[in-house]
Symmetry: D2
Subunit: 326 residues, 4 copies
Amino acid sequence: MKMALKLGVIGTGAIGQDHIRRCSKTLVGSEVVAVTDINLEQAAKVVRELDIGAEVYADGHALIAAPDVEAVLVCSWGPSHEEYVLAAIAAGKPVFCEKPLAVTAEGCRHIVEAEIASGRRLVQVGFMRPYDQGYRALKSVIDSGRIGEPLMLHCAHRNPRVGENYKTDMAITDTLIHELNVLRWLLNDDYVSVQVVFPRKTSKALAHMKDPQIVMLETARGTRIDVEVFVNCQYGYDIQCEVVGESGIAKLPEPSQVQLRSEAKLSNAILMDWKDRFIAAYDVELQDFIDGVNAGTITDLLPGMAMPLRWPPMPVCRRRTVERSC
Amino acid sequence: MKMALKLGVIGTGAIGQDHIRRCSKTLVGSEVVAVTDINLEQAAKVVRELDIGAEVYADGHALIAAPDVEAVLVCSWGPSHEEYVLAAIAAGKPVFCEKPLAVTAEGCRHIVEAEIASGRRLVQVGFMRPYDQGYRALKSVIDSGRIGEPLMLHCAHRNPRVGENYKTDMAITDTLIHELNVLRWLLNDDYVSVQVVFPRKTSKALAHMKDPQIVMLETARGTRIDVEVFVNCQYGYDIQCEVVGESGIAKLPEPSQVQLRSEAKLSNAILMDWKDRFIAAYDVELQDFIDGVNAGTITDLLPGMAMPLRWPPMPVCRRRTVERSC
Amino acid sequence: MKMALKLGVIGTGAIGQDHIRRCSKTLVGSEVVAVTDINLEQAAKVVRELDIGAEVYADGHALIAAPDVEAVLVCSWGPSHEEYVLAAIAAGKPVFCEKPLAVTAEGCRHIVEAEIASGRRLVQVGFMRPYDQGYRALKSVIDSGRIGEPLMLHCAHRNPRVGENYKTDMAITDTLIHELNVLRWLLNDDYVSVQVVFPRKTSKALAHMKDPQIVMLETARGTRIDVEVFVNCQYGYDIQCEVVGESGIAKLPEPSQVQLRSEAKLSNAILMDWKDRFIAAYDVELQDFIDGVNAGTITDLLPGMAMPLRWPPMPVCRRRTVERSC
Amino acid sequence: MKMALKLGVIGTGAIGQDHIRRCSKTLVGSEVVAVTDINLEQAAKVVRELDIGAEVYADGHALIAAPDVEAVLVCSWGPSHEEYVLAAIAAGKPVFCEKPLAVTAEGCRHIVEAEIASGRRLVQVGFMRPYDQGYRALKSVIDSGRIGEPLMLHCAHRNPRVGENYKTDMAITDTLIHELNVLRWLLNDDYVSVQVVFPRKTSKALAHMKDPQIVMLETARGTRIDVEVFVNCQYGYDIQCEVVGESGIAKLPEPSQVQLRSEAKLSNAILMDWKDRFIAAYDVELQDFIDGVNAGTITDLLPGMAMPLRWPPMPVCRRRTVERSC
């Protein structure tokens, strides 16, 4: 009989709820036994509505300490991440932390040092793009040598629009961060310099922010990456990545869509909502965490800076069930 | 605690093994407790290699009769399907039957009549295309009214090549059968006439068979469908479906691929192996059967002719776990 | 010094005016010295507005007889074509006749017989598609052997809408006629059978006509062609042609368009007006006639049925000036 | 009767021969009456082979001085351009000069000053891209306001490979120069800063040169342009231009090609030879010069820096014949 990994989830906002549903109903090998939130009523409501019978804890520390919680998902407010991740490491419990790992470089370093001190890989940061089929197919082509050594990457990260809370530097910390994550994995290389350029500002952006931005990165091997970050582009949520190699060019697939001929246009829909773009990748990402814990090892696709770049083998996409004894 | 639906699998050839792996390791809410095959050693080997601890039964009837088998998958040789499906109906056990349901129209009718007599929906036939995301997206567009009423469909079903066992009439019974299945569902309509035309034969086909063929179907509402069936097309496994409506045209998405610029070509790979084309759809199809049984109802997307065309609501793509009491 | 071929144009309606402008201002090696029309004032107005100083003749016969007219363009009403083409043949003057050559099969045969009796190629019928770069590129691919022998063609001829004068049989005589012309040239083959099928009628067509229609043609070599003729398709003027060969498929290029990302769509414009689709081909077609006459030979891409299928070499696309002595 | 503009051509190498053929045989309103070359035998051979009956002059100055030469085409070695263009201006004769206008900035300024002093527009520089249908379509979309104000341009200029004579700085003076020309016209804006970045060098480039290069331009209005210049990309001659506006993105059309399905690929050919890419644009460019001279005015699409940016109206693409009295 299959036994599931018992999870505790800290934070029951949008992404927290989504992960609770995912780990309870969709994925193999897990169940959610504990939840908490800054708003306890909200946490209780989520448990009720999803009908999962998990216990509601007073706070993250109580949840981490609960004996039946075998692993922790941190989905709370960014500034609280560091504290909970450190607590999970201290408790020797594997922890999946939504981005950001911490809100300061120092905070991240504390976590990396704590994990190293623990002697085990315990932390996985919530970046989903390396689990996306399109990026994996792109990496396969690069790794196959069919386009030769990568020399340049032309990328774009576009959102239709952002709200008032979005500040200029969030183009880096909230938006570009996904490229920082996935491109390092894609190229198996690390960054050595960065330059940000501000083109003419779009009239569609709010007064307080600069948009678009162009970020130019240089890697250790000399590959040059340009990323257009444009979060008020109006027309869609659009992620582009083109890898220019010595003998050819490979381009990230566009999301598969019905091709329409109508109203004087040959068209394919472009997604408007970022949540639809990598929807399948979230499942694979969380399944990889569950399987990793169940198998006694987890692999972090964004290893801490202090650790050598030992990339894990590509996780298998297919879901696996793992036998565990109670 | 989650309890799984206990499945018995008759036939441990390629597709049988694949379903055993799927229902044991990948999907939610099932486990395989019983298997059998015309070759019992082969069945035992599969159980051993997949490490699933299922019991090997002497034959399909013994397996169907086993008390812990709650539902049956029929994956044996086509001519044996009718017998096992009827036995499962007689035992009151839900049964998923790989195509064909039976090798004669009479055999199919017997099954339909037996199912009607049982008073419950018990039979699901193994057609995966209606579970494919591309066909679902196409159906969404049609159902949205964006292209108006469908008037014509232009389809193609192409394989790189077929072996010596493939005879001319298998273009209909083995190949076109998938279009017969999915187009009826897509259009929510039924066929009233059919015409087969034989173009000039390709020099790449073996002497004994006619290839390609063009099949022209007419539906009850007057929609005309042409399907090119070309099983020695050399270049790839390629499934095309274009729906011409009163005000626009919708086309089945091509499988998502990395776009390459290399060697004087802008290209996207075309799959060569049919098994890769609908790989995700098989998971959804079996999960739908499991969920349907667990929920106390199954929906067959190819209802028997004698039954009114009551199309089920589109099954949800996401996997669900179902609580069952022992 | 360059001397131009002196042309007389019968009919100064839309297409006539267009050819007068083309032969006077755009092409090399011709000038229009004579025009006529059923409406003489209209003819005079065209001469005045284009500022070409051509003489206006009382009727087509007077124009054909005029000593300085070296070749004739027939652009008048369809039923008058036969009479004028026969008169030009009788006068020994090369004649370019807009489609139809005649409105009856008998009329066409009279013309073919008269041309044969004259001992010279004198007649070119106004079909422009074989002069289109896209069809030429498609023919190059077929002729290169890269897709093997053609086995099937899937074609579509779609117009956004047609007016009240358009009757059901014009789908053949006015619309399909272009496919009849170009596909014979493309395949270097002739038709042996034809079948027309009427799908469910679109609600967008006027009451008196059947639309769409599917025409299935068989050629002497057994190639099967299906052509969807749909003249109220709403969304655009759209010409499709896909050639399925023994080892690959070649598709007529879509007209080149700017690719747009806007309003949640990745789109390319589809033309709405048929006049824009083959605009460059009209120039090449008329230049080929002028060059052919100037070189003392013309080649008809739709030879009369009574004549052997001796296809001319592909006319050179580039324009040439030809020296002629008066 | 049509009278043609009498042209003298200096330089009968590849591009010179091509222009002689073009102006003698293809275009309307011109004839070549005089040629010269550093190699007079070669000049005579060209005249003989093209059968144009032009006179061979001893050098460019004699040709410019010839009374029947009405306009001059300078197609000789780059370093000689300045001298001949100045001579033509001094003679009051319109001159079409292949790029470069001069090999130094000072040389260009001398020409601009001489032209201004002459009081007439006499010089057109040989840049063909603004005459290309694809760039014109792109400009139409921008000018229509459909994508809003341009904020960024992502461009690429790729050649399969270059020979030993190609030095690193020719990426700017010989290759990027076309983007410098066409993008200024496209945006109706001028450059204010430029930055060149050298990515990791491709192993396919010869030892003495850096390849690829990324050039980042900033315009007066703040639009940012990145151009990848990669002249040993192996796979094709590939020109990309994507304009990111405030509300949408417009992309230069790829050259129209037959779409192929063969050998497990869905592919469109990419051109390998730059001469095929803008072949039609050369005709339109020269026709525009001829028409401009015949109409008593020429418009230069790359106006000298000292002159105000008064962009000419888009030249009409269609060819026109112009009546001229001797």
